[in-house]
């Protein structure tokens, strides 16, 4: 199940300069890390430090065989992928593959945030979009329409006071 839009990935060859520009716009860097499997450094910029807030992820290659190098050389910097948080990444990979879309990863890899696993899927020429499926050890968003962990906590706290 898709829990929400987690972030948009933006490819850059100049992480520092791109970060300063996002900072000037009014976003703040909340997290950073390296995705070793892809050979990239990532920085996450958000309006607030709420883990569930939408983020812009700056992605920059850190080695010659980084998977994004070809795309960066061919297309230059710019939007690179849309990331969706899901509650079962293996199941979502199978679902999208069965729908005719193309996974770039046979199995999920460690992402740039703590407790994050990711897998990329190509949606085809009509959109040219790469979708990054993201699953966190601790979900950052509640299921759509479902009770949030906070709401559940409030109910328990309320009962304890009765």
């Amino acid at each position: 199940m898709i829990l929400g839009v987690d972030h948009v990935g933006v490819l850059t060859s100049d992480l520092a300069k791109a970060g300063r520009h996002l900072d000037s716009v009014g976003l703040v860097k909340t997290e950073e890390g390296t995705a070793e499997a892809y050979g990239v450094a990532c920085e996450f910029y958000q309006l607030t430090d709420d883990p569930a807030a939408f983020a812009v992820e700056l992605v920059a290659p850190v080695r010659e065989d980084a998977v994004v190098n070809g795309r960066l050389k061919k297309n230059g910097p710019g939007p690179y992928h849309i990331a969706l948080e899901v509650d079962d990444i293996e199941a979502e990979l199978l679902r999208l593959r069965a729908s005719g879309f193309m996974p770039l990863d046979n199995v999920p890899c460690a992402g740039a945030r703590d407790g994050m696993r990711v897998a990329f899927v190509y949606l085809g020429k009509a959109t040219g979009l790469l979708i990054e499926l993201v699953q966190y050890d601790v979900p950052r968003r509640p299921p759509p329409g479902g009770a949030s962990p906070c709401a559940r906590h409030d109910q328990v706290a309320s009962l304890a006071h009765e």
Partner: protein, 79 residues
């Protein structure tokens, strides 16, 4: 089968059908990259109503290799 595969390749790469033969190596095709490879696979699976093994697909070198893989998959799904 060969015509279908070559037709998809020519369409995705926006090149003449005559420029693609079974002996053509993917790496020699202009504009061939990982995204083009995924688009070819996606269109081929849709057109031929089959699902190819991604690992096998990624190891292919020539257009003829791809034709062979698709033929084998179709033969397997018929049996």
């Amino acid at each position: 089968m060969g015509e279908a595969v070559i037709g998809v390749l020519a369409d995705v790469l926006d090149t003449e059908i005559a420029a693609v033969t079974p002996d053509t190596e993917f790496s020699s095709l202009e504009d061939w990259d990982s995204m083009a490879a995924l688009e070819v696979l996606m269109q081929l699976e849709s057109e031929l109503q089959l699902q190819l093994n991604l690992r096998n697909y990624n190891e292919l070198r020539t257009v003829g290799d791809l034709i062979g893989l698709a033929e084998a998959e179709l033969a397997g799904s018929d049996s």
